[in-house]
C-alpha cells in the first residue's frame, strides 16, 4: 500500500533555517545540514527545502548548501526558491535532488515548467501555489515569498500548472502557515477535485489529526509539515522532531 507522505518543509533564509508564521515573523531554527542529518536519522519519508528570499532578492540557488544537504540525505529531496534557469535545474538534479519546486517563475514564464518537464520528466516538477484569502473571503495567489499578488485564483492556476506539465502541486495556505490550527481543508479539497496530479497540502499542521483530516476530507495525496517538526509545541522551544512511525501508520 502506498503510504501517505508526510514531508518536512524546511525554509532557508540566507544560510540558516527559519520558520515563519503567516509568511512573516521569522524564528531561527538552526543549521540546515545538521537538521537534515537529524531528519535522516529519524528516517523521514522525504524533504522539501525552500529558499524563501531567493525570488524576492532575484538570487539564484545556493549550490554549496544544496550539495552539503544532498550528501547527507538518503531520501527524496525537493528544492524550491529562485528556480528560473534550466541549467540551474540540471545542476540541482546533478547534485542529488529529485524535484524542483517552481513558484514565482511559473507566473513570469509559463513555458518554463513545460521545458523542465519535457527535459527531466513531469515527476521532477512540483508546481507551488501560495494562496491567501482576501477581505471578501476569496482566495488569491501570491508569488515572491508571498509579497506579490497575481491575478489568478488557485483553482485555475492549479489546472494550468497541471496542463503545463507539473507532476505534483504544493498548495500552501498563507493564512494557516505557522498557526498549528490545521490545514485549509476547503482550499485543498477544491483544488484536489479539479486536478489529476497529486497535491501536497501545506500550512497549518499541528497534530497528526490535522494530517489525517486534510488527507481524508481534503483529498491531499501528501502533506508538508513545518512548525510541527521544528518546535516542541505551539509557542514552545525549538526542537527538531517527527511523529513516530507507528503513530502515523495507525492514523493514516
Amino acid at each position: 500500500m502506498l503510504r501517505t507522505r508526510v514531508i518536512p518543509c524546511l525554509l532557508l533564509n540566507d544560510e540558516s533555517l527559519v520558520k515563519t508564521v503567516k509568511f512573516d515573523a521569522y524564528t531561527y531554527i538552526g543549521d540546515p545540514v545538521n537538521t537534515v542529518r537529524i531528519f535522516n536519522e529519524l528516517e523521514v519519508d522525504e524533504l522539501v527545502f525552500l529558499d524563501i528570499t531567493a525570488s524576492r532578492q532575484s538570487r539564484r540557488p545556493n549550490f554549496t548548501i544544496l550539495e552539503d544537504i544532498a550528501n547527507e540525505c538518503f531520501m527524496p529531496l525537493a528544492y524550491g526558491g529562485g528556480v528560473c534557469d534550466i541549467e540551474d535545474v540540471g545542476r540541482i538534479f546533478g547534485i542529488g535532488f529529485e524535484k524542483v519546486v517552481i513558484n514565482s517563475h511559473a507566473v513570469e514564464a509559463p513555458d518554463f515548467i513545460r521545458r523542465v518537464a519535457d527535459k527531466f520528466g513531469s515527476q521532477s516538477v512540483i508546481g507551488s501555489i501560495d494562496a491567501r484569502k482576501n477581505l471578501f473571503g476569496r482566495y488569491e495567489v501570491f508569488t515572491h515569498g508571498g509579497t506579490r499578488k497575481v491575478s489568478r485564483n488557485p483553482l485555475e492556476w492549479a489546472q494550468e500548472l497541471e496542463r503545463l506539465g507539473a507532476g505534483e502541486l504544493l498548495l500552501t495556505s498563507m493564512d494557516q502557515d505557522g498557526t498549528w490550527a490545521g490545514f485549509d481543508i476547503k482550499l485543498t479539497a477544491s483544488v484536489t477535485s479539479k486536478v489529476q496530479i497529486p497535491v501536497i497540502a501545506n500550512g497549518g499542521a499541528g497534530t497528526v489529526r490535522h494530517i489525517v483530516d486534510v488527507v481524508r476530507k481534503g483529498g491531499a495525496s501528501a502533506v508538508a509539515v513545518g512548525s510541527m517538526v521544528v518546535f516542541q509545541g505551539k509557542d514552545l522551544g525549538v526542537l527538531v522532531n517527527f511523529p513516530g512511525k507507528k503513530e502515523l501508520e495507525d492514523a493514516l
Partner: protein, 206 residues
C-alpha cells in the same frame, strides 16, 4: 570495481553517495574503457525510455554492455528506468530495450483507475519477496520493508520466476527482477534509507 554507467540520465550523485556511506568503492564513468574494466555494473536511469536507449547507442556503449552482460556475465543492476531498459520493449517508446530479461515495460495509465490511483506511482511502498535472490537477502520477514518509487511505467516478466520482488499499486507488478547475473530494482535504493543501503550492500557483495 563497481562501475556506475553514466549515459547522462540519472541520480548518479545520490547513488555514489550511498555506496560511499556503506563503504563500497564505486566509480562513475561514461567511457567505454572504464566500463570494460568493470567487474560489476550499475545502470541508473531517470527519464524517458527512448531517450535512454538512444544515448546509450550514441555513446557507443551498446555492444560493450551486451558483451559484459551476456558474455562476461558480470553482475548488472538496473535501477528505476535502468530496470525498464533491461526488458525487451516499453510502451513509453518505440525502440527496443536491452532485452536481457524476457519482459515488457507497460503503462499504468489505462490499466488503473486514475481517480483512485494517481500516476506516476510516487512514494514509499512495500515490497513482497517472490523468488529467492541474493539481492534481497537479509531483509527478514519483509514485514516493514519499503522503498521509494517514482515511475509511470511498470515491468511484467514473461517468466514469473524472474520476478524477485512484487509490489501492489492497484495490482501486483514486478518491483524487483533477476535473470542470472542481471538484476533490476524499479524503486530508488539510493533514496530509500537503510533499506536501500542493505540492497546496495547485497549487490556489492555478489
Amino acid at each position: 570495481m563497481l562501475t556506475v554507467v553514466d549515459y547522462g540520465m540519472g541520480n548518479l550523485g545520490s547513488i555514489v553517495n550511498m555506496f560511499r556511506k556503506i563503504g563500497v568503492q564505486a566509480v562513475v564513468t561514461a567511457e567505454p574503457a572504464g566500463i570494460e574494466r568493470a567487474d560489476k555494473l550499475l545502470l541508473p536511469g531517470v527519464g524517458a525510455f527512448d531517450t535512454a536507449m538512444t544515448r546509450i547507442k550514441q555513446q557507443g556503449l551498446l555492444d560493450l554492455l551486451n558483451k559484459k552482460a551476456m558474455v562476461e556475465k558480470v553482475p548488472i543492476l538496473g535501477v528505476c528506468l535502468g530496470m525498464q531498459l533491461l526488458t525487451d520493449s516499453s510502451e513509453e517508446g518505440s525502440l527496443p530495450g536491452l532485452g536481457w530479461i524476457p519482459a515488457r515495460t507497460l503503462a499504468f495509465k489505462g490499466r488503473l483507475d486514475t481517480g483512485r490511483f494517481k500516476v506516476p506511482h510516487m512514494g514509499w511502498n512495500i515490497v513482497e519477496k517472490h523468488t529467492e535472490s541474493p539481492l534481497t537477502a537479509g531483509f527478514g520477514s519483509f514485514e516493514e520493508v519499503r522503498f521509494y518509487f517514482v515511475h509511470s511505467y511498470f515491468v511484467k516478466c514473461d517468466d514469473d520466476r524472474h520476478s524477485i520482488l512484487k509490489t501492489t499499486y492497484g495490482f501486483h507488478f514486478d518491483s524487483g527482477v533477476q535473470n542470472g547475473n542481471i538484476f533490476g530494482a524499479q524503486f530508488h535504493p539510493e533514496k530509500s534509507h537503510t533499506f536501500g543501503m542493505r540492497l546496495f550492500r547485497n549487490f556489492a557483495r555478489l
